[in-house]
């Protein structure tokens, strides 16, 4: 089980796509490729942009399909972050 701590990596407002891209390539995709479960921990994060969330998780959904969401846990999300994640997971599964 891998855990990505967004507060530590991106601060209270997760908007920097360079950081999201780095987390995707360095942690998220390699862990999923090895069949590991990944927790993305948003504890303490106040907000995030759709661009950040898209850069972090969209490729995983495209590469592994919708079932990858069974292997990713989004932890400690406030209602705004929850909805932004849902927007991205929805349109990636619909597309």
């Amino acid at each position: 089980m891998k855990t990505i701590y967004i507060l530590k990596e991106a601060g209270i407002f997760a908007e920097n796509k360079d950081i999201a891209r780095d987390l995707r390539l360095r942690v998220l995709l390699p862990a999923l490729q090895q069949g590991e479960e990944v927790t993305v921990d948003f504890e303490g994060v106040e907000g995030a942009t759709q661009s950040f969330i898209h850069a972090l998780i969209s490729e995983a959904i495209r590469e592994f399909g919708s079932t990858v969401l069974d292997h990713i846990i989004f932890k400690g999300c406030n209602s705004t972050i929850e909805r932004i994640i849902s927007i991205v997971t929805d349109y990636m599964q619909e597309s």
């Binding site: 796509k17 907000g47 942009t49």
Partner: protein, 321 residues
């Protein structure tokens, strides 16, 4: 190039300001203002600053700068950004208090620093802070990632006490929306390109639904939606076209449209050519509701747009006997 700032230039009445912009002779910039009074949206200042940065400093001139207009331009750091000595000194504090002077942002690190520093200055309630932080972040990000401008993004914001509103402007002198959108979609005119850029799921990086791993084509749609939800003005100007989301009645129901042509808006073409992109937005602090409620609306609109496009691509097998 020439700009003239009349006594009032806000998004609602920005058209004469844009129409008076003279983009010819890019080797110099001449700015004139109303001689007694000046009240302008930050989008006006970011446009002037963005063009001013492309001109050697000795070729930038401001005429008829009297105390009152000069005071405002000095306070917003227009002269400082363009290296002009206007000989105007500010000795009093601003009574309305809250403004973000012209700031140039060239990379993601500067963007993060800017957002971190601007929020406490504006003293916002959590709902408004979320929306404004979101808007600023996505707009700057668009410029850094897509504009190709060596000068990056020029940003300014101001709180207007009388209207209880944050006004925000951002401009760049990059390649413009038509050129970027045409990398993946066919836009025959600048206004077509603006509308495509405002449509959810349309990105300049691919014509594939869902975008690339780094881009989804949702940024400007989110921002238009925030303005629509607040029933406020939003403008997008690039090339020779201007798209303007118009103000709606305070009690009108919020409906988000994936197709920007369906929003209550105005559009103009054949305007003086802006090489790059300009965005202006008003965010009323009177607006009620939570940011996450708006996100639910965005989610529904976005999904139905994706489904509709999917339906349009669907083809039945053709059989012949």
């Amino acid at each position: 190039m020439k700009f003239h700032i009349s006594n009032s230039a806000f998004i609602g009445n920005i058209d004469p300001f844009i129409a008076a912009f003279d983009p010819h002779d890019e080797s110099r910039l001449d700015v004139t203002t109303h001689n007694k009074w000046l009240s302008a949206h930050p989008v006006v200042l970011v446009m002037i600053a963005a063009k001013g940065l492309t001109v050697p400093q000795p070729n930038v001139s401001f005429d008829q700068i009297n105390a009152r207009p000069g005071h405002y331009l000095e306070r917003m750091k227009l002269f400082e950004m363009l290296g002009v000595n206007a000989d105007i000194h500010i000795t009093e504090s601003d009574p309305s208090g809250r403004f973000i002077p012209l700031t140039q942002i060239k990379n993601a690190k500067e963007q993060t620093n800017f957002i971190t520093e601007m929020m406490p200055i504006l003293h916002l309630e959590p709902y408004h802070a979320e929306a404004i932080r979101y808007v600023v972040s996505e707009l700057i990000h668009n410029v850094i990632e897509h504009s190709g401008s060596k000068d990056g993004a020029i940003v300014a914001a101001q709180y207007h006490k009388k209207s209880n509103m944050i006004r925000l402007g951002i401009a760049d002198t990059g390649v413009g929306i038509k050129k970027t959108i045409n990398r993946s979609h066919a836009a025959w005119s600048d206004i077509d390109a603006l509308k495509l850029a405002l449509t959810p799921g349309i990105t300049s990086t691919t014509n594939r639904e869902g975008g690339t791993s780094d881009n989804a084509g949702a940024g400007l749609f989110f921002i238009k939606s925030i303005a629509a939800n607040n029933r406020d003005f939003f403008m997008l100007y690039s090339g020779d076209a201007l798209y303007k989301l118009l103000k709606r009645k305070p009690d009108s129901r919020t409906i988000l449209y994936a197709d920007p042509s369906r929003d209550k808006h105005s559009e103009k073409t054949g305007l003086p050519y802006w090489g790059g992109t300009v965005v202006g937005i008003d965010i009323s602090l009177e607006a009620t509701g939570e940011f996450h409620t708006l996100l639910e609306l965005i989610r529904a609109t976005y999904n139905s747009a994706v489904k509709e496009r999917k339906k349009q691509r669907y083809r039945k097998a053709r059989f012949e006997s």
